[in-house]
């Protein structure tokens, strides 16, 4: 049957609209990220509070955003309050005495008891994250006016103990003393075995330790070496770094130096470097030959630690690696070569002859895989034991020291239970998983502790003005740009879309800027608005060129790589550039953007 306009196929879709009506009532539920505060239900909650406010006016509950008892409320609203699950216990019930509270800023819903609020606060209430962000009080200067905190525990010599603890922890937070490793026991055992074999049994070995930055590769190696400190007289440690020893000559010189043989370094010539290598080889080979002759003779073994191992593979012909691996494999001398690197595929970069001499032993260190694991590491980094303090050289015999350490432990435990602190940890975990980032974020809060500002509060960790974290992108620069610079940047980003090329030059951008601005001018004057403020005046070419040069200076514009020589000749004007920010990023990262410019960002 041929289909026409009047064929009843349309009727089959009849019930669908009704269905969609039903669907409108059922709210979408966001299933992901339950542990993060829920931001999605803003409008709906606003409705509730508007509905409630008038009715609750003269009742004793004056708090604006309390979701009232489900039983007392009529049907329509009970549906909606079902949505409001406490973000700590995920339960939906909201009873008198344990009501679900809503943050006035981020609509974060939580039970009174889960958040440890004895009674419903009056007036505006903010969750701790928003509170800390608003106040930014983490670093308020410690002035004499402040009272000594009333929450100080009654421990003798408290101030002194606190300072001891701060000094100890800050050493750890800044990376001076290594913190104990968590959860890498197996790898540690493996490495320990290898190094021990060399030091005690005189075997030659090689091994690669692979893991991301800040995962604790160096810590692992250091720990193993300090474990073997009983035999410290039996081995030397030579540390090389790929960033510093940029070629084999330098590396050889430094090996020589570190092995304690001072030699007269003459002018650079290949012969010298070769001689160094030869004498080094002789030095390393010699003892083993001796050992063959003289059985009872114990030789000193050498532990080579090559940091940034991947950079050593870029050296011409990989001479150093070849020789080291060769010595290690041929048992000319008891040496162990430990390569630390971030690159998983580093073995592929080895030349064939080098690769065949490498033992192909690997240790992979991984970043913490789950939030609890990450939390345990972070918690471990803030706590310590009496033994650790003693090992670090502090006097632990003082009165009240053990009580203080116990008190500190409970304080950190409490801190870890705080919601804001959890939020902080989760943010770090999802962003980087990096423990050093966390340690850095602790420096200021710990350093600021004093008898006047005592219990460590989670607020101090999230205050925006004292954050020591690295910026995520270049976008922080945009805030400081002048309006002309912004307008040019927007024009460049628009051209990216309009012209479908990612490069542009100054003439094109200036043309776009002029047309945008004059269009805006016409628009505002025709609609009768007073043409004031941004984007109205068309700035001259010279001024705009100055702005363009500043953008290039800030690396927001990157030179497009066509023709290196022509770029040098033509300067900023003639060169082709690429805007390093996208149009949609601009509006979000500048506060106080004028209306016209926001519109340029929105509409093409």
């Amino acid at each position: 049957m041929p289909k026409g306009i009047l064929t009843p196929s349309g009727r089959k879709r009849g019930p669908k609209p009704r269905k969609s009506v039903i669907f409108q009532d059922i709210e979408e539920k966001d299933l992901g990220f339950k542990d993060l505060p829920d931001y999605s239900s803003k409008n709906k909650i606003a409705d509730i509070s508007e509905l409630q406010l008038p009715s609750d006016d003269d009742v004793e509950d004056e708090e604006p955003d309390v979701v009232a008892d489900v039983e007392n409320e009529a049907g329509a609203e009970s549906d909606e309050s079902d949505e409001l699950a406490c973000s700590i216990c995920n339960s939906l019930t909201s009873k008198r005495g344990n009501q679900i509270l809503l943050c006035d800023r981020c609509d974060f819903a939580v039970h009174q008891q889960c958040y440890m609020l004895p009674k419903v606060p009056e007036g505006e209430w903010l969750c701790q994250v928003c509170e800390a962000k608003r106040e930014d009080l983490a670093l308020e200067p410690v002035t004499a006016l402040e009272e000594i905190s009333s929450k100080l525990p009654d421990i003798r010599g408290f101030e002194h103990h606190l300072q001891t603890m701060q000094t100890f922890l800050l050493g750890r937070l800044t990376g001076e003393c290594r913190m104990p490793l968590h959860g890498h026991d197996e790898e540690m055992e493996k490495l320990h075995q290898v190094v021990k074999q060399t030091v005690l049994a005189g075997e030659g070995n090689s091994m690669l330790v692979i893991g991301a930055r800040g995962v604790g590769k160096t810590t692992l190696v250091d720990a193993v070496i300090s474990d073997l400190s009983d035999h410290r007289d039996n081995f030397h440690v030579v540390r090389l770094n790929g960033f510093i020893h940029t070629d084999d000559k330098l590396a050889l010189k430094d090996i020589w130096r570190q092995l304690g043989r001072e030699m007269e370094i003459e002018d650079d010539s290949k012969a010298t470097a070769n001689d160094t290598l030869q004498s080094l080889l002789a030095l390393l080979s010699h003892p083993s030959e001796l050992a063959e002759i003289d059985e009872g003779h114990t030789t000193k073994s050498v532990v080579f630690i090559l940091d940034e191992f991947d950079l050593f593979t870029t050296h011409p012909r990989q001479t150093l690696l070849y020789n080291l691996f060769d010595i290690a494999q041929a048992r000319k001398a008891p040496i162990v070569v430990l390569g630390l690197t971030t690159r998983v595929d580093v073995a592929e970069a080895l030349e064939k002859r080098v690769k065949s001499r490498f033992s192909h032993r690997y240790i992979h260190l991984s970043l913490p895989r789950s939030i609890p694991a990450f939390r345990d590491i972070c918690k471990g980094s803030l706590t310590t034991s009496i033994e650790d303090l003693q090992a670090a050289g502090f006097d632990v015999e003082l009165d009240g020291m053990s009580e203080f350490v116990a008190y500190w432990q409970t304080m950190i435990d409490d801190l870890c239970k705080e919601h804001v602190f959890k939020y902080h940890l989760e943010t770090l975990f999802y962003k980087t998983k990096s423990t050093p980032e966390f340690l850095t974020s602790c420096i200021l809060p710990v350093a600021n502790l004093s008898t006047k500002n005592f219990p460590l509060k989670a607020k101090a960790f999230v205050a925006s003005n004292t954050s020591l974290s690295a910026p995520d992108s270049k976008l922080h620069i945009l805030q400081g740009l002048s309006e002309l610079e912004l307008a040019l940047l927007i024009s460049a980003a628009r051209l990216d879309i309009i012209l479908d090329t990612d490069t542009c030059n100054f003439a094109m951008v200036y043309d776009e800027y002029c047309s945008l601005t004059s269009r805006h001018k016409i628009h505002t004057s025709s609609s009768g608005m007073t043409a004031l403020g941004a984007g109205v005046k068309v700035w001259g070419r010279d001024v705009a060129l100055g702005a363009w040069e500043r953008l290039a200076d800030y690396d927001i514009l990157v030179p497009a790589g066509v023709g290196g020589t022509s770029a040098r000749d033509s300067g900023t004007v003639g060169r082709m550039w690429k805007a390093d920010v996208a149009l949609e990023e601009i509006a979000g990262s500048v506060s106080g953007l004028s209306f016209a410019m926001a519109k340029w960002c929105r509409e093409i």
Binding site: G175, F243, A251, K253, I443, G480, L484, E485, N505, S566
Partner: protein
Amino acid sequence: MLSLPNELLLSTINSAFPCRQQIIRSLAILLSLKTSKNIVLYGSNATGKSAIAKAVLGLLSKSLPNQGTTLRHAIIRTAECITPRHLVEKTVRAVADVVGYKASNRCESTSQMVNELEKMAFWMQSQHSYPSSRLVLAFDGIDRQSMHTAALPALAKLAELIPGVTCVFIVTNAMNGFLHAPGVPHIHFPSYTKAELQQILSHIVPTPQLSGGEGETKDVWFRFCGIVWDSLSKHSSADLVSMRSLCFRLWPRFIRPILDGTHTAKEFSKVMVVSKYLFQDEAALVPSIVSEAKIPIGTDVPRTMPHGIASQLPYYSRLLLVAAYFASHNKPATDQLFFMKGAAPKRRKKGGGTAKTRTSISNHRKISRKLLGPQAFIMERMLAIFSAILADADGRGKYAKGRAFGDVAGSSDVQMAIATLMSLRLIIKTSNSGDVLEGTSKYRVAVNWDVIRAVARSVGVEPEDYLEE
């Protein structure tokens, strides 16, 4: 023991750098921790990074000895180092000066620098009676020269390798992971807002002063700065240094009515109306070597007769330059239209035309050719255009009268003129291969429209007649 910076001491810096309390405090805490390793200070231009770092370091070197630590600091302005080796040597020398150690002058590589610094750090440790001594190295503007970026990871390792060393990196743009070290504390220096800029500038007493004394001057100055921001600085260059210099430049002209006695200092709005032109004129924003005071304000400076290269180049060179400009800015396909004599017989296309295959219609706007800048052309084409416009030119050249074109083009004089233009970088060779004056090598013109118009008029060519747009 832990020793945090004294609040009283910090307050002196705070008063010198308004609106930066929080940052100064954080920086002072980080620097006074003896275990600090690397610190990154980042922010836009003129936000006080270097100045504050210098002030805090100076203060700490003076005050820390009381607490049993000695702190020495060296600030290395890396923008002044032209090679990586220069940077290394400069660093060693700066530290040697600060510590008072006689270091060897030669230092070729980063690894040698590490050794030297290590020696100096130990020497310093042994010299002083203090329980601990520290060395702070501040690398100022290390991201400004791309060749130093290779050295950055090595410099970031310094602090780890040598005990008691702290490195401060002062950069504009802290790209994520540029140090290749995890968890480095970064301190952000945000740009100043209008209110902050006004507050900072209000600490300055401008010259010349008003007759009413310092108080009156400051009052007018404060309001004047606000207007400069709203009318000029906000739009063109929103940082402190350029705004301050702008204010200094405009101030004498702004208060002239008050000094002349036509208005009093109280009548601020009237003064503003009188000198309204100051805030509308963007000449103040364009940097120039010639002081603008000589140009009478409000009058239009008449364009003088051709000056610059329009008058200095010989006749044929000028003509060649014009030809090069045409060749760069016209499509080769349109040459027939612009430069062929009307009498020339039109050549028929052989073999019949095939319908042009239309390329896919793009939704995107076409880029006008003018905006794309000068394009490359081959020498032969330029010579052809040259011969075409030679006929139109007013013919003041010595070869012009009674001589045919063939004598001029290709003769050594023209070739030499082209070579001269090239050595003056008015024409730029874009292809790398081939002889300089070979017919097929490619060139591009490097002068802009304003210059070429003057040059073309000086040889009697109307440039608009020959250009596509």
